[in-house]
């Protein structure tokens, strides 16, 4: 060891102090880095803190449509249904939507029904909730390849449409979602044009399975599931079931739809659940039922073929995907 005469012995740190200081520094670095790593991971990991804060809706069960489930199919839990949502206005991360939508204002609310109708009319929330509600348990199949079974509460869209009396020239129904950058600041990252728009053929819209849902599990809809009123079309991919509807317009031509505008090659106007027509980037033959381990077969028209297949008689479903 070489001598260092310029450092007087009094300034040399005693070994014990040096080791203590070193131990302290190392401990601080350990704590700092592991806390940072943990924090970073937790920022992105799913959180399961959804509460059912809705108010109860009186409804009648509809055994004719709720008894269609296969013996091994069971309802998804409220936590699954309300904790895993595609609602790009709030977040593109499905486990983030519940938290981001927490303060979404859904009352007052109004739904404007307009276009080719004899009696255009704006329904406020009270009037929407006055429609006689039914419980309808439907499969819900997302185009991404996952699915759930959801006990909706709502009423057939046909009931509302017959009140406004569609004109004979009306062939389609166009829907628009609520959009507001103040309440939905993260929607700038959505990568799709907003407000979200969807559409159905008039006969699809009038089909008894097509629902305007105002609740699930017996209570009003959680914000993240499309409060206060959303469309549910059980035989089509989930994105057709537009959330937080503010406008319904009867038209005489096929209306533009958001995902079709974003990528026409991947998302068609019809978007009927069809295990034989694959998405360009993945197979639609099977699906992952949320809450289950493996995957299960996807059913034609999501299992509602006997009720809706006739709507598409003679059509090439490969072309009209």
């Amino acid at each position: 060891m070489s001598k260092s005469p310029e450092i007087p012995p009094s300034e040399i740190t005693p070994e014990e102090t040096f080791l203590n200081r070193r131990f302290f520094m190392k401990s601080a670095i350990w704590a700092g880095t592991t806390v940072a790593t943990t924090g970073l991971y937790r920022t992105f990991s799913p959180r399961a803190d959804v509460e059912n804060t809705g108010t109860a809706i009186a409804s009648t069960a509809d055994p004719s449509v709720t008894s269609h489930l296969l013996p091994d199919e069971k309802l998804n839990t409220f936590e699954e249904i309300a904790g895993y949502n595609n609602f790009y206005e709030f977040s593109t991360d499905k486990s983030e939507v519940a938290a981001k939508a927490k303060n979404f204002v859904t009352n007052p609310w109004s739904v404007e029904v307009t276009g080719l109708v004899q009696k255009p009319r704006t329904f406020n929330l009270e009037e929407i909730l006055k429609f006689e509600s039914e419980e309808r348990t439907y499969r819900f199949r997302c185009v991404e390849g996952w699915s759930m079974v959801i006990p909706w509460v709502g009423f057939p869209l046909a009931k509302l449409l017959s009140l406004v009396e569609p004109m004979s020239g009306a062939t389609h129904v166009a829907f628009t979602s609520y959009h507001d950058l103040k309440q939905m600041p993260d929607s700038v990252f959505a990568g799709i044009d907003l407000p979200y728009v969807e559409g159905l053929r008039l006969d699809e819209a009038m089909h008894p399975l097509t629902l305007l849902a105002t609740g699930l599990y017996g209570k009003t809809l959680p914000n993240q599931n499309g409060a206060p009123v959303r469309l549910v079309v059980p035989w089509k991919y989930g994105f057709k079931s537009i959330k937080s509807v503010v406008k319904i317009e009867l038209t005489d031509k096929e209306p533009p739809t958001t995902w079709n505008l974003a990528n026409a090659r991947e998302y068609g106007f019809y978007s009927n659940v069809n295990p034989t027509v694959d998405h360009p980037r993945w197979s639609q033959a099977r699906e992952r039922r949320i809450g289950e381990g493996g995957t299960r077969e996807t059913l034609m028209f999501n299992g509602y073929a006997d009720q809706v297949a006739s709507l598409y008689a003679g059509m090439d479903l490969r072309k009209n995907f």
């Binding site: 790009y88 593109t92 990568g191 980037r281 992952r288």
Partner: protein
Amino acid sequence: MTFISDSRFHRQLLLVNGLLPAVFIVFDHWRGELGANPVEFVTRATGVLALIFMVLTLLVTPLRKLFGWNWLLKQRRLIGLYAFFYGVAHLLTYIAGDRDWQLLSVPDDVLKRPFIAVGMISFLLMVPLAATSTNAMIKKMGGKRWNQLHRLTYLIAIGGVVHYYMIVKSDITYPLAFAIAVGLLLAYRLAVQIRKVA
């Protein structure tokens, strides 16, 4: 010994912090807290972690040259091995979760889905790099050849980002962030090369 030269301490820090996300994933799985779609989350998390470690390995050289942090070099192998480790975890999650362990369905799926093919190629390119990561292999191959082989890292990083971009539906924020990071790190190397030639 200073902290800068305490490479044993650096290695311990990296070893523990690199493993922590995997520990959390296993722990959250065990207590059923991986969300409604655990397969989707684990697939995404392991894929993103592999990309993060890819970016970190590419960061070592610029940091050394720009700031003289040469002590980082000793940790680069472990960073690279973590990229491989999370790549393996990503692949296993796909085989177990997406393919239900039906190994025979994998080749068909790779051919059918271009983004899977890009991911698979990137992963396969990592295998020779992981296999030649030992001191003995570096010696055996010679520094020059070893360096040439390990330039595959650039291709793997690009493939990883493209693979991520291809699966995203519309929100490209994260793939874009990785593309910018990898782009800058590769642009730095290109700039250095051009200056050498000029």
